[in-house]
């Protein structure tokens, strides 16, 4: 073997033994993350019925949201979470086949459990009845009042009722 052969042979062996592919792996691993965001389920509880009281023919009756007879809902959930508030507000009160028309609703709401919270919403019957809000550290309270139209002299006497539905959900989830 002359010098040239020796050099070529040496270079070839170096190339073979020193090649990156010679760093063989018979075991390998990698990682991924597992993740979750936990939120507290929202609860909505009807705290008090909206009591419009006795209504006389020829007049109207208004119970403001600040009135002790206003209806109340209590919402709980994660502190600081954004929520969507959606009302289903009846347009009439029913007594069998007879009904009373409701004119407007008023809502006051906030983190205080009193009927003097800062935010006020006014809803015409049939209009948009959705809001957004942010939950605080405690309960979120909503108080609802209503205005009933003049029943008229022909309106049969009796007990008229309807159901107010409130749906609250986290927004952005």
């Amino acid at each position: 073997m002359d010098n040239t052969t020796r050099i070529l042979t040496g270079l070839t062996l170096v190339a073979a033994l020193g090649a990156p592919r010679l760093q063989a792996q018979v075991s390998a691993n990698d990682q991924i993350n597992a993740s979750a965001r936990v939120v507290t389920p929202i609860t909505v509880t009807g705290g008090a019925d909206l009591n419009l009281g006795a209504i006389l023919a020829g007049g109207t009756n208004t119970v403001p949201a600040s009135d002790p007879n206003s209806g109340e809902f209590v919402v709980t959930g994660d502190n600081g979470a954004g929520i969507d508030i959606d009302w289903v507000l009846p347009t009439i009160l029913l007594n069998g086949v007879n009904n009373l028309d409701i004119d407007t609703y008023t809502v006051i709401r906030g983190n205080a459990a009193t009927r003097a919270t800062a935010i006020t919403d006014n809803y015409a019957v049939g209009g948009a009845q959705s809001e957004t809000a942010t939950l605080g550290a405690g309960n979120y309270n909503l108080f609802i009042g209503a205005d009933v139209n003049d029943p008229g002299a022909a309106e049969p006497a009796g007990f008229y009722t309807a159901t107010i539905d409130l749906t609250v959900s986290y927004n952005g989830l």
Binding site: T4, A16, L17, R21, I32, N33, A34, A36, R37
Partner: protein, 154 residues
């Protein structure tokens, strides 16, 4: 001289080919994501879930036998060292030729042996169940899942 050099080149080629045949690579492709879950409500992510299952790609030489082993945390870690229990059912892992082809399920709690197919690589999928308690601390939780592939017969 030329004959010697050619022989040496052939020899080095054999060495390189042999060593390459023993290589194995594992690459995480997608995190295992439960998303938003509610305290008190368990959430199960299936291994066939295309967007939430954990996914790895495993490369190796055709027809070699590999053993897959997961390192699975029992909990996710959250705010203030809160723990969110996480469990893995016997069919919460799957292996498939592509990310969308039918999976062969297996138990992620035990080592799983398979032969690398002609159509390498393979994809490995992982599902799990997170079980938040009713009073689970709200917030973000996470942990690390490791997949190790060992060549059992290369």
């Amino acid at each position: 001289m030329l004959r010697t050099t050619l022989l040496t080149l052939c020899f080095s080629g054999l060495i390189m080919a042999h060593i390459e045949a023993q290589q194995v690579h594992v690459k995480g492709q997608q995190d295992l994501a439960f998303g938003t879950i509610f305290a008190g409500v368990p959430e199960h992510v299936l291994p066939i879930d295309p967007t939430r299952s954990g996914q790895f790609r495993v490369r190796g030489s055709r027809n070699n036998i590999f053993v897959l082993t997961f390192t699975l945390p029992p909990d996710l870690f959250g705010p203030g060292a809160a723990l969110l229990p996480m469990g893995f059912a016997v069919d919460d892992a799957g292996i498939a030729a592509t990310r969308t082809s039918p999976q062969t399920p297996f138990n992620p709690n035990n080592p799983y042996t398979f032969t690398m197919p002609q159509s390498r690589p393979v994809f490995v999928f992982l599902g799990a169940t997170a079980s938040p308690s009713v009073g689970q601390t709200p917030g973000d939780y996470s942990a690390t899942v490791t997949l190790t592939a060992d060549c059992a017969a290369c």
